[in-house]
């Protein structure tokens, strides 16, 4: 199945490529053999929950008295919890995630974080996106460095796509940067704006001997080709799968359409924000969790069992929240948190490293047991099958969910 699918992509690409107006200088730098055509491998979808998701009210330790003592006003009542094991269960808004759990599609890692946790949103998000430790300031992201070390010289941008208008640091490498777009049509229109569609011919661009100007024109040409390519691949293919009506679901639907259209992208990135629940968090948190779970479920259904062999979804947030609720019916910034992995053939599923430890806290916060970079290392080495040491600037022990 693999080879025939790859063969199909190759032939359809050649057919399409003829109709694309690929600037000559791109052809010269190897458009035909660009990275995205080399192999159709595994696909990773990264979901970022921005604001700091309250992990303890997401996966609930419903048998733990301490949990109820710390959170008299906002704890999820045991009777309401969607029970999964003798200790843990899901927030009632997560019935769709529970369904994936029941089907064996879900792995939950608890207590994921990093040493010397930073409780500032922007800094902690910086750390997660760059894949650095708390004392290092990197200006590239871990997915960007994946692109840097695993992509040829041209048109690599479409190897990693963020479904948004602007590109997160996570997808920016030193040399190669991923691509941000809400959907192929909007992207195509933006890239074919009056001044960007008129790309100068190859000879003139090739004569540019200044590296900055060359970089700009090269980015412009790549943007234009990527936009044409993605638009041509997806045009006219209507995805009629049922998704809830909200922005986040629409973005996942876009990703499903791109995967179905065999665009060759290896990593997709998408964000759901609003998790900074300092006050009266219950209604807000419930709403967001439902949006998340329903969208992911619809996405898995949409792709179907076959495709889910090749797709893995990893969901994280920049930090969890304090164990003790605050005086406003909310929770303040915390540290370690749970992280979800959804895929079809997980080697280990369910709760793969026990429950959060509420007895041993560090000044009221959970203590991390799993470094988030070991999750990245696992995804890079075992799923995307690339060496992770260079990308992560170090070697991290790997998890066994793959």
């Amino acid at each position: 199945m693999k080879t025939s699918r790859r063969g199909f992509i190759k032939s359809s690409m050649v057919a399409t490529a003829g109709t694309l107006m690929i600037p000559n200088f791109l052809k010269a730098t190897g458009f035909e053999s660009s990275g995205r055509l080399q192999q159709q491998g595994k696909i990773l979808v990264v979901i970022q929950l921005s604001g700091g998701n309250d992990g303890l009210n997401t996966v609930v330790p419903y048998r733990n008295d301490l949990y109820y003592q710390y959170r008299p006003g906002i704890a999820i009542r045991a009777a309401d919890v969607l029970k999964a094991t003798d200790e843990l269960g899901f927030h009632p808004a997560l019935s769709k995630l529970k369904d994936l759990y029941d089907r064996g599609y879900l792995a939950v890692l608890n207590n994921v974080g990093y040493p010397n946790p930073d409780r500032s949103h922007f800094r902690s998000m910086d750390i997660w996106q760059s894949g650095s430790d708390a004392a290092t300031y990197l200006k590239t992201g871990w997915i960007g460095r994946y692109l840097d070390s695993n992509c040829g010289k041209s048109l690599c941008t479409a190897q990693a796509i963020e479904v948004d208008d602007t590109l997160s640091m996570a997808l920016k490498g030193d040399v190669i940067k991923g691509l941000a777009m809400k959907n192929p049509e909007k992207f195509y229109r933006a890239a074919h704006h009056h001044f960007s569609k008129n790309i100068p011919g190859s000879s003139e661009v090739n004569e540019i001997n200044d590296s900055s100007l060359h970089y700009l024109y090269k980015t412009l040409a790549e943007t234009s080709s990527s936009a044409e390519f993605l638009y041509a691949k997806t045009k006219g293919k209507i995805n009629s799968a049922a998704y809830p009506q909200n922005e986040f679901s629409t973005r996942l639907k876009t990703i499903a359409s791109l995967i179905r259209s065999d665009v060759g992208t290896r990593i997709y990135y998408v964000t759901l924000s609003g998790f900074d629940t300092h006050a009266n968090q219950q209604a807000q948190h419930q709403r967001l969790l439902a949006i998340y779970a329903e969208a992911v479920h619809a996405f898995v259904d949409d792709l179907g069992e076959d495709t889910m062999n090749d797709v893995m979804i990893m969901t994280f947030s920049e930090f969890g929240r304090r164990v003790r609720q605050n005086a406003s019916g909310g929770t303040d910034h915390g540290t370690a948190n749970n992280l979800f992995v959804v895929s079809k053939n997980l080697k280990r599923r369910g709760f793969i490293n026990g429950s959060p430890d509420l007895y041993n806290l560090d000044q009221g916060d959970l203590i991390h047991q799993v470094d988030f970079r070991s999750v990245y290392a696992t995804l890079l080495n075992k799923w995307l099958e690339v060496p992770s040491e260079k990308i992560l600037n170090g070697s991290f022990s790997m998890s066994d969910f793959i």
Partner: protein, 460 residues
Amino acid sequence: MESDQKKKHLRLRAAFGLSLPDEKQGYNPEAWLHSSAHIQPLNVVEKGEIPQMQTNSPTDTIKQAISKSRGDILKLNGSWMDQLTDPRVVIREKMTLFWHDHFACRVRSGYLAQQQNNVLRQHALGKFGDLLHAVSKDPGMLQFLNNQQNKKNSPNENFARELLELFTLGRGHYTEDDIKNSARSFTGWAFNPVSGKFFFREKVHDDGLKTFRGRKGNFSGEDILEIILEDKQTARFVMGKLWQYFVSDDQPDDDLMASLSTDFFNSGYDIKKILFGIFTSSWFYDPRYTGNRIKSPVELVAGMLTQTNGKFEYPQASLFVQRALGQVLLLPPNVGGWPSGTAWIDSSSLTFRMSLASVMLKNGETTIDAKDDGDVNNETNRVKEKKITLRVNWGELAERFVRATADESLSAIEYYLLARPGLKASRQVVRNYAGGSTSDPEFVKKAFIGFMSLPEYQLS
């Protein structure tokens, strides 16, 4: 290089491009630097209550103070952008922006942010040593790098680490023991939350013996700063960053770097003097350093405002554009400051940058959404201003740029806006867009939009 071209290059690097008032001035770096003597502090935020570190259950008063401060940051952001684009004070402002990136802080209190910004402005062209001492005692810095918590017997090393790594010596030029010992020297450096002024809490200061950079003594915080300043490596590190800001992302050869660093060091870290040296050198105007520096988002926006002499119709639009481009004044990503060069350019950012002129000067409305940084208290996340129109006096620009023929006019506008001539094909695109008739009342506007939409406009 002709003196007119030198003037342009100087304005591109040391300001935000040529401006209309520049017309009357020649290329005279000395006079121009001299005009920077005037210091115009920002003064838009009243003191009020200064919010403290986030507590677990903030009281309503604290919450109100936090909320007021967020609003104050927005106000401050707008007024700084206005001042950055004021040609009369621009070199000092551009240096203030440099130091804001060098001593990158996200100060929670609007008042403290303003105070810090004014400290940077005051010393922007003075002696680096004075600046370093002032910033190290600045309440916004003390708060941001947790020096309020730096006490005898329980030192907090955050400030000491960034001081050595990011502000002075640079990575690889100090040891972990240097950090530990210098952190002890800064114990007790604090500020009074009511007055918002530095004060020394002698009781929590560790006056014991410290070893720092191979020397032993009962060093105070001031002593540590002086020892750092006595080290030539500090001059070298800061010089490297000045080079990157004004000249190129590629560092110069070792000889030139060594000679610049020595000059800087020997002048007693005289910032104005070293800038004068850069701006009057011959290499500064060498083709390999001209017209090829990628503008940061703030430089891009400030440039558009400067060159059109325009103002945002809706004040919040300025903030929205900064967010969408990924650089918001007063909100650097972390203490390491902003990235530079090609890091600013990816498919989506380039597309947005190239569409900005059309939107800001014509249609007025963008379809882009800017990212949320996750913080529910961050007021800038709520700014979703999509009408980013600039108010521009096109008559004034037409008077200045319309010549006998369309081609002459286009050449004049191209020279004024672009750091380097556009590629032939790209100029043709602008020519087609603007049309061939200078009697068209939209001609100058279209020409501006055209040249500002080219990749070349991303360069300074």
